[in-house]
Point group: D2
Chain length 133, copies 4
């Protein structure tokens, strides 16, 4: 159910808008990233601590569908859910909404590597506990 | 009194941190700008509408004192007050606090110009109503 | 042939790196956008002028494959080519290389709208002259 | 002499412009930082390596005078010179020019700290060799 998804509320900040008067395309990745990190934090995973421990969560593919443009003054929600893909890969499925109107969809394909750049199984860092949540 | 100042609460977002693990110096200007625009909005002035009407509020000088660094996970307040400088110039005096600890001070010297790049008196656009607030 | 593609050379700037010490994922969209605008300019199309004339080139979908991470000190090339998709849609196909090593692939699906938010045929603004170049 | 100053040439990128159609104030700090790091690199100091070695060069005060606005399509130079202030503090004096027209002045007050957040003498990391250059 849409309603049970993790979600954060954000405001468009004027410096995020470009000469077209709308939020620049790259900024949506900032919104999506911030929501993912807040989602992880809400489940006991601190991105900064994970990074300092020598584990790097990396995006290897991003797909973003821009349906409607966010503008100065807009207040919006960013949802996060996590699907498993394999033992070493998962997908963050995210959307941006204003009320029930969808503005943006994002899919972020994630893997984890250690400081030797070797793939790490997601259950070895406990991320498997998040699947199907 | 510190307590009566306009203030907004923000979170550090991880993408705002650089390789030193702290918020990049330029990002503080984003925080200060967003707080100024929220301050203006709370007093009935919409920066986007002002810009579209052909009036440009421009910063001609910025002074920023970085006292303590903001880090991943910090939640902080940005204050705003406005002092008059002359009929065509004003100064936004701003600070960033966590609890009562000051992290950053900013002074932003502002003037207004029209689309012919001529200075505009601040009372002609109503901004004088904000002084001493 | 790879060699005949339009390409610009850029440097990683340290403020573009995040706490992982590598370029933040969102920044790649900045690189790709800048390369697209330079490509348009090299063919006589100025993005800023197009926008001021009331035509908005908008991305409705982005796909980015992050193969290798860009790091502080890296110098890299961003390529641009344009494929037609329909009378109102085109695709910018772009890559980031260091020497012959691919770092990133990007596909940006573009359409053009006017100030009434109606779709515009790409040949009405001359963009069809760029296809197969 | 102006002519003997260290300088880099940059282009305004469209994503750096905001809804006013000019470069956003915060972005100038990006330009100034990138020029400082290139200046350091040209003298054998790599900011990324310095940071990894546990020494943090930090700005404790910034003063920026915005004289003329940079716009889409502008190509400009950013100069860097370094003045000593005390054994633990130095000042980067920087300007942005197009031809001989000054657009922006920046003064960045720098100190160095170690990972225990103690001040470090600048000559202990060799930075004194840069003064009067």
């Amino acid at each position: 159910m849409e309603n049970s998804l993790f979600s954060i509320e954000l405001d468009v900040r004027d410096y995020e808008c470009d000469m077209q008067g709308i939020v620049n395309n790259a900024i949506y990745q900032n919104y999506f990233e911030h929501a993912r990190h807040e989602y992880l934090k809400s489940h006991g995973f601190d991105f900064h601590q994970i990074t300092k421990s020598g584990v790097f969560l990396v995006i290897y593919r991003a797909e973003i569908d821009y349906c409607l443009p966010l503008k100065s003054g807009d207040k919006f929600n960013v949802t996060v859910s996590l699907a498993t893909h394999s033992k070493t890969r998962c997908i963050f499925e995210q959307s941006i909404f204003i009320d029930n109107q969808k503005y943006t969809d994002g899919k972020f394909f994630i893997t984890a590597i250690n400081s030797q750049k070797r793939l790490i199984k997601l259950d070895s860092i406990g991320l498997d506990s998040l699947f199907n949540k």
